[in-house]
């Protein structure tokens, strides 16, 4: 018996990718993967350690799991990977990192269709 909810999630993910996503580059080591991603949420935080403050821009990306193919194989996000998002003349580099007590990514839906990847802005480069 088909699962209507799973079909609905797959439909919504296709709509998200078609209408609410832009291309980013997912980088692991020397391998780049152009992939459609939706910016989930952006947070600005200031963390304090003994009076020394760190400014952190955290950004979540939603990515279709089936699109994550690295080295010819299905892959899951990993700490240290980067997502490179070009906006105008700049490339914003976001590193995949845990968020609070959560790991660096989690499923965004109960049917394991979409990754929610937690990142933090670590550098900005000039677009090529």
């Amino acid at each position: 018996m088909s699962n209507l909810l799973a079909q609905g999630v797959a439909f919504l993910d296709a709509q998200r990718k078609a209408h609410m996503a832009s291309e980013v580059v997912y980088r692991r080591g020397a391998e780049d993967l152009a992939i459609a991603a939706t910016v989930g949420v952006t947070r600005f935080e200031v963390e304090d350690e003994s009076g020394f403050r760190s400014q952190v821009t955290a950004r979540d990306y939603l990515v279709t799991a089936a699109d994550m193919v690295l080295g010819g194989q299905a892959a899951e996000p990993a700490v240290g990977d980067t997502i490179r998002e070009t906006i105008g003349s700049q490339v914003f580099v976001h590193e995949v990192l845990p968020f609070g007590l959560e790991p660096a990514w989690r499923w965004s839906d109960p049917h394991r269709t979409t990754f929610r990847i937690h990142t933090k802005h670590t550098s900005t480069e000039a677009a090529p």
Binding site: V46, E47, E49, S50, G51, F52, R53, S54, Q55, V56, T57, V79, G80, E95, L97, P98, F99, G100, K120, H121, T122, S123, T124
Partner: protein, 153 residues
């Protein structure tokens, strides 16, 4: 305007750390110039190179005799850097030890007051596990406390 003793002390510690030219053993990293700040604040993109920041942090005075107070002046030294892996974290732990060694072995003299070497240098905890896990940033704070005797009046 005359400078406060604590600010002169913080500046002297900053100068001693800069003069020591300590360098984390990480490829591409040079000697680190220390800075003094009241509210040190860094964004992750700024931490590709190590930061060494001296902050005036505490001052206590206790009556030592009928005519003198014993003062404790404390400065915090913040050490920050993004790290790629455990090898770079090891290098930063070593760097913190070198900062600590420099501070504990450098006698400080400021105008009209011989302060000497610190009576207490503390680095607890050695690093922040939360920053290392969530930002891959090495954050460590060394507190150095210097004694000085000053007349009551």
């Amino acid at each position: 305007m005359s400078q406060s003793v604590l600010i002169q002390l913080a500046d002297a510690v900053k100068d001693a750390l800069t003069a020591a030219a300590i360098t984390p053993e990480i490829a591409g990293e040079g000697a680190i110039a220390a800075t003094r700040s009241y509210v040190p604040e860094f964004s992750l993109p700024e931490l590709g190179t190590a930061k060494l920041t001296v902050v005036p942090s505490a001052l206590t005075a206790e009556l030592a005799s009928r005519g003198a107070h014993e003062f404790d002046y404390s400065v915090d030294i913040g050490i920050h850097r993004r790290v790629a892996d455990d090898n770079e974290t090891d290098a930063m732990v070593r760097f913190v030890e070198e900062v600590l060694d420099t501070v504990r072995s450098t006698a400080i003299d400021i105008a009209g007051l011989r302060v000497g070497v610190p009576t207490l240098v503390a680095n607890e905890p050695i690093f922040s596990p939360e920053h290392l896990r969530e930002q891959r940033t090495f954050v460590s704070v060394v507190r150095a406390t210097y004694p000085a005797i000053r007349a009551v009046t």
